[in-house]
Assembly symmetry: C2
Homo-oligomer: 252 residues x 2
């Protein structure tokens, strides 16, 4: 947060960023407790214990890491944009790898247990989300990290990229909620209505995910938390171009 | 859309508004077909046919009408703000009434069938959404239609009101998706994985709702579709104040 910003604004910003981290970590921990304690733990042997890897990886990758990858532009708003951009790309790559592990886990489990794939609304939304996430990642790489697009094209694409990033986080959270409902109804349908600890814990996990999404979207869309324009705003591709043409970049 | 806006921008805007209407209406029609054709139709006798009123009212009220109530600020951006504000409030009131009918339908059905209330993630998210919707409606009424708050307070609250409105539409859509998954697993769990027509129709309904939300959020958040500042920007409460104090408003 900018040092020149009013003290109260900085406090609100710090509180919201801290809140987002607590909510994001809480969602990962609650998923781990649900799968580890109530669903028997984790393994990689095609059993239901391998399935348990799926929710954990998806919440960690597509929700928490994807959310934090977006937040770096607000948290490090006074750092060199090139560095923030690289950090944004790296966290997204990490999110993608973790998510792919999570997807392999569930497809492997389905194959071993002879359960059909891709018939539920959760799977349709999840597949759509992960495909769009990959498209967004490749487009981001081409537009903002490598000198493929012109400055005009980059500037036009930036708001679309930001909007799609938020849509993807919200879709990831929505898909997680669908997964929670599916898992509960497949596992504890006869007792779910008696408010068992597992059902309550999973519902609370759902609400924590919703809150994480709300705080994240608020931080990203509020005008006063935006990164102010500065010389570092120019794309990294300019540096690439300058360097490959033997010149010197005109900003650090 | 402003007449002075570039032709291409106006075409994109019209296409997106038209698309939102098609998607919103399609979601209502698909819900009606699902409940009317596959789930036996509608009644008000405590049976499962009364339950069928619930999804239809919630999609119509909390998704389509709430979405359109927000859209009026973009569609009628050149009309007198007072009129648009009243239309916004009326459509929201209609959305609230339709939603309350939908909620009564499901609680009545639960009571007749001796099914416990409020144990699922869908019910938790739904109750949270409808409570926040009521709070948002009352706050909107107090801040923007009646002269309770000062101009400074209204101006500070406006971005929060807009943000919360979008959060509420997204929460309504997410809750609808949870409801779709719950209903499918309660009704057709043994055959859902064989891609029956009912399952595919309900999944498509889920995707249509997601698309409606994405188009709506895009229309509301894009800078170029915003209502331009004009003399009508002043709150209606000013008119109320002027009229009650015997003066004349300084804008129509």
């Amino acid at each position: 947060m900018d040092e020149s910003a009013p003290r109260q604004e900085r406090l609100v910003f710090a509180g919201l960023v801290g809140g987002a981290q607590v909510l994001g970590l809480a969602s990962v921990v609650l998923t781990a407790v649900w799968m580890g304690h109530y669903r028997g733990g984790f393994s990689w042997d095609g059993s239901s214990f391998q399935f348990n890897v799926h929710p954990l990886c998806m919440v960690l990758g597509l929700v928490f890491l994807q959310g934090d990858a977006i937040l770096v532009y607000r948290v490090f708003r006074n750092e060199a944009k090139r560095n923030v951009k690289i950090l944004h790309g790296i966290i997204h790559l990490l999110a993608l790898v973790v998510s792919i592990v999570g997807i392999v886990a569930v497809f492997d489990f389905h194959r071993a247990a002879k359960i059909p794939d891709m018939y539920s609304l959760h799977s349709w939304c999840g597949m759509l989300t992960i495909i769009l996430f990959c498209v967004q990642w490749v487009m981001g790489l081409m537009f903002f990290l490598f000198p493929v697009a012109s400055s005009w094209l980059r500037a036009s694409y930036l708001p679309v990229h930001v909007f799609c990033g938020l849509v993807l986080v919200v879709m990831s959270i929505g898909t997680s909620l669908l997964g929670i409902t599916e898992k509960l109804l497949f596992s504890i349908m006869p007792t779910y209505s008696t408010f068992p600890a597992e059902g309550v814990l999973a519902n609370v996990l759902g609400l924590v995910l919703v809150l994480f999404g709300v705080v994240l979207c608020y931080l990203i869309t509020r005008e006063e938390f935006r990164r102010p324009p500065n010389p570092e705003e120019e794309s990294l591709s300019v540096h690439f171009k300058t360097l490959t043409e033997g010149g010197t970049p005109n900003s650090p």
